[in-house]
């Protein structure tokens, strides 16, 4: 049972060393790959100098494209499981183990969720998360407690499906779509850290656009999509 940790990195020169060193020293049982998403800073050079496993994209593809690159790599190499892991240090590697245990029970996707046993705080940031959860519930009838969590683990079938298709971004609308199509999804309680260095991608305007896109996509567009099954080789 092989598991690949996919680390998409865009301008993460301040964080990448800490994240990868931690994985290498404390969790050598997992393979990892850094996907440098055409960073304009020194991310790729640092990785190459230190001999990290690196796929270096020559142009910026955005998170969806970068993560899909990692999944294509996992697909080609025949990995059984793959997990999306942030390069900014928000995700903690100690939770990969429990998530792996869970997915081995036969789930398609396991989400590293902040709100399984913990309560969701009533902050501005969580309004979006709540709206997306409600939209997902409305269209699929199923509860996802932390739909915006970026820490998601996929099994072999999902790796193939995500690697080979269009409109499979690592976002809540894809999760909602797959739930509707009958994929099995579980959540495992995790803790996340605040990013330590660098800047977050989301500002107010971008958050609004993101919410509009997600809600329209979950409530409307995903209902019309046809699923193309992918053969696992």
């Amino acid at each position: 049972m092989r598991c690949l940790v996919i680390i998409p990195a865009y301008n993460e020169e301040e964080n990448i060393v800490r994240v990868v060193e931690n994985l290498q020293t404390n969790y050598p049982m997992y393979d990892y790959v850094v996907i440098n998403d055409g960073s304009s800073d020194d991310t790729a050079r640092i990785c190459r100098k230190r001999g990290y496993e690196l796929v270096d994209l020559p142009v910026n593809l955005g998170l969806a494209g970068a993560f899909q690159t990692g999944l294509k790599y996992a697909y080609r190499k025949g990995y059984d499981y793959a997990i999306q892991f942030d390069a900014d240090g928000q995700h903690r590697a100690e939770y990969i183990g429990p998530m792996l245990e869970k997915i081995k029970e036969g789930y398609d996707i396991v989400i590293g969720s902040r709100f399984v046993t913990e309560k969701k705080p009533h902050s501005m940031r969580m309004i979006g998360s709540r709206l997306i959860a409600v939209a997902t519930r409305l269209t699929t009838g199923k509860k996802v407690k932390d739909p915006t969590s970026g820490m998601r683990m996929f099994n072999k079938k999902m790796i193939a499906e995500f690697a080979l298709n269009l409109n499979y971004g690592p976002e809540p609308d894809t999760i909602s779509y797959l739930l509707k199509q009958g994929a099995t999804i579980a959540e495992v309680q995790v803790q996340m850290d605040e990013r330590i260095a660098g800047e977050s991608y989301l500002n107010v305007t971008k958050s609004m656009m993101y919410m509009l896109r997600m809600l329209l996509s979950i409530l409307f567009i995903q209902n019309f999509r046809k699923r193309r099954e992918v053969k696992v080789r």
Partner: protein
């Protein structure tokens, strides 16, 4: 607005929506791009179902005919969209250029490496010959 114009608007907006959804279904369109067109079709439908909205806006900005407001509104929206698409097109062309150059340069570097390796091997072999 005349009833016929309203019917045309409704039919056109519904057809647009169905066409967009069909393309999404066939996985030919990214959702990011579909969002604009679905909102666009939505506005078309709203305008055709509630013409008083159009009349209100027409009066608000002091235009003569609601039809003119509709023309102006959509021309403006499409103009902005076209400009944004030009920006996206430029970015895309730039990416393709970068990508092509990157591939070609990589290829050349690999060829250079192979060549210098072979020369090094031949060179040492040739050396041996002369001295013998």
């Amino acid at each position: 607005m005349s009833p016929i114009f309203r019917v045309i608007l409704i039919v056109v907006s519904l057809l647009t929506t169905f066409y967009i959804l069909k393309k999404i279904r066939q996985s030919k369109l990214q959702i990011e791009y579909a969002i604009f067109w679905i909102l666009f079709a939505g506005v078309l439908i709203v305008f055709s179902l509630f013409p008083w909205l159009v009349s209100m806006f027409t009066r608000l900005i002091g235009m003569q005919l609601p039809v003119n407001f509709i023309f102006m509104f959509f021309i403006f929206v499409l103009l902005v969209k076209m400009f944004l698409m030009t920006i996206e097109l430029s970015a895309l062309e730039n990416k393709v250029k970068d990508l092509t150059q990157e591939l070609a340069l990589e290829e050349k570097e690999r060829a250079d490496e192979l060549k210098s390796q072979r020369e090094a091997e031949n060179g040492s072999a040739g050396d041996g010959c002369i001295h013998n």
